[in-house]
Subunit: 442 residues, 2 copies
Amino acid sequence: MGASIRRLSTSEPDFLRKLDALLAFEAATDDNIERSVAEILKNVRAQGDSAVLDYTRRFDQLAVADMAALELPAAVCAAALQALPAGQREALEQAAERIRRFHERQKADSWEYEETSPQLAGTRLGQKVTPLDRVGLYVPGGKASYPSSVLMNALPAKVAGVRELIMVTPTPRGEQNPLVLAAAHLAGVDRVFTIGGAQAVAALAYGTQSIPQVDKIVGPGNAYVAAAKRRVFGVVGIDMVAGPSEVLIIADSSANPDWVAMDLFAQAEHDELAQSILLCPDVAFIERVAASIGRQLPEMPRRSVIEASLAGRGALILTRSLDEACDIANHIAPEHLELAVAEPRGLVGKIRHAGAIFLGHYSSESIGDYCAGPNHVLPTSRSARFSSPLGVYDFQKRSSLIEISAAAARSLGAIAATLAHGEALTAHARSAELRTEEEGNG
Amino acid sequence: MGASIRRLSTSEPDFLRKLDALLAFEAATDDNIERSVAEILKNVRAQGDSAVLDYTRRFDQLAVADMAALELPAAVCAAALQALPAGQREALEQAAERIRRFHERQKADSWEYEETSPQLAGTRLGQKVTPLDRVGLYVPGGKASYPSSVLMNALPAKVAGVRELIMVTPTPRGEQNPLVLAAAHLAGVDRVFTIGGAQAVAALAYGTQSIPQVDKIVGPGNAYVAAAKRRVFGVVGIDMVAGPSEVLIIADSSANPDWVAMDLFAQAEHDELAQSILLCPDVAFIERVAASIGRQLPEMPRRSVIEASLAGRGALILTRSLDEACDIANHIAPEHLELAVAEPRGLVGKIRHAGAIFLGHYSSESIGDYCAGPNHVLPTSRSARFSSPLGVYDFQKRSSLIEISAAAARSLGAIAATLAHGEALTAHARSAELRTEEEGNG
């Protein structure tokens, strides 16, 4: 056995307090990391390539002659894809195609309209949508490096129309990850630099002699990368800094306890801080899941990680009803929500906050992680209350269009002047009034 | 005279270096502010109402008995609107109506589709769009407090369907701004607390006994408010932290130099760090603008602020052509871009980065600031390269919908399992495989 996971019930008087304690997660800020990152950013900003080279030689133990040696030729990535076993290559290609197709539907278009009232004729308002020019994609080296994440980060940018997508990924002691390079080629990454850490984030944010400045940096990374991204935010855009991954499963007795247990494992195997929670109104079903956990756990290669995650952050929670389970789900605002119930369509309308919602018994999170089509980069740590999956909209931006006719400049100008005088901004008021007073222009 | 503004020409060999020096702006981080804000956040989080009360008594010199005394009854805001002079009330109402109508067009809808290939029949994917539950709106006290900003921040949230919009605004020594309260009533703000500073941001981010926790905080504020917002980001969403306001005007000889000069003033009067830049290929027109600046400046009540802004951060720039002016505009990515040219439609397609684009001579920024309809909260400091005007989309979020049929669980599950094994995530693979192997469920 040894599979220990806490049991809770919503009937306990202090349930909400216990739940909040379980959910609490705060990324510790480490003063040493902060200081070291601040210095790396400063040096790369001031010295460019030479600082990037220094740090890469030191931190990644790479004996490189110059920056040119840190750019991977496109042919290397193309060859990595060709060299994959056929099954793996086809799976990657099919996943990429499905992700691309889903994200195509997220593309926003520009729009414009003309005012209809006669005194505003000729006045047009609108919203122009454009892609970002250039985006940086951070891909971790080593074990946290997932080809699926390369597809999920890169494809929305390319679908949005980003002109140049620059990937950075560290290759400590020269170790490359061929699956990651293959995914980069498939996703249309334009350039790849084998640099990482805060120095890579700095190079992308400020630009160096060899590395062009980007407009936004996305992708996961360790504490140094996260600290660097927070610090360059404003100079460039960044994506959300992700917390530990989570799944919340709402199940009724129609669910398969082995499938539910394995879905809890799939989340837990990511790392010891990952969070797997089951909500279920049927105490007998909860017992069947607990038994299945004990039965299936010994087969798992990442058993010790799963055990630590379930024991530290997991829970099987008895609810009074499925409705109550939905209320709790809204409180948790989970990254992944599985509705493993007979009638998922009856519940989905009650869910207000979740990164991704999986409907019915066959919709495993793992299909969503790889190839259903929607993005697997999702809001964590309750941030689904206010944010969204990574998408094409993260690589497009809007500009307002305002075209005022001479006639409208009189009626709207009068409103603007009144309000500007109310705010004691005389030049604002005069700017509107000048166009009201004069008949012609010039 | 005394109206000094630098002249530049794109033909100068070091033009780009000079331009970048002019654009450079970095919000200084002040260690004293950081320390003080960190302590305020910690105390409000731990002690709730009592800390908020303490700080408000101390910083705002308010002798209040309890938290109830810090909530403004809705009737106070309604009365503020009724008490306005008719002209001001009507101008505010017309502005609100136009802003609401423009933003209605930004509302995103949920969508869903079913896979068409036979082996995936019954598989549905989609995106569910929902409003944020609860939003906090910070409104500064004193001179930086603008009713137009209340409309611009509050209306997109209400259009999005935010259930509860909570405004906080400090009232030092009890001084209220009736225009701000009137705008809050017009915009549908649900509750108003007369608190400000980092303590107000903390109360909204963590919640107290009297003030409910929100999901996002928007609105401008001083350095303490900005530092507090940065620190609570992640616990709640925040909007962009704004830098100084900017206008870039591209003009040809068909423009009216007095109008152009006044538009430069309108930006400059905000504060000494505001930035007003003209790009023009006609040296004679630039001289006419310079002459108009000298002629009109003495009439301006905020003359000294305008002078300091134009001298410190303004420029009249001679370009080789209008095309080159557009290239420079894309480099600057201005908050406001006026195309004061005879054929603005010929240029707008060349503009990739700008918060708002004003087309033609009658489209003054000041009409856009108050009542054209589009938002006046716009990306500053070159961030239009990667971000957008404040909009309804900032108060909506998306959840992916993934419903996999039993048949699709086999074909998609095989892809997922292949990729999961490639990433050494066995539980992910097994989660897909279990659903592939079994015919039925349960």
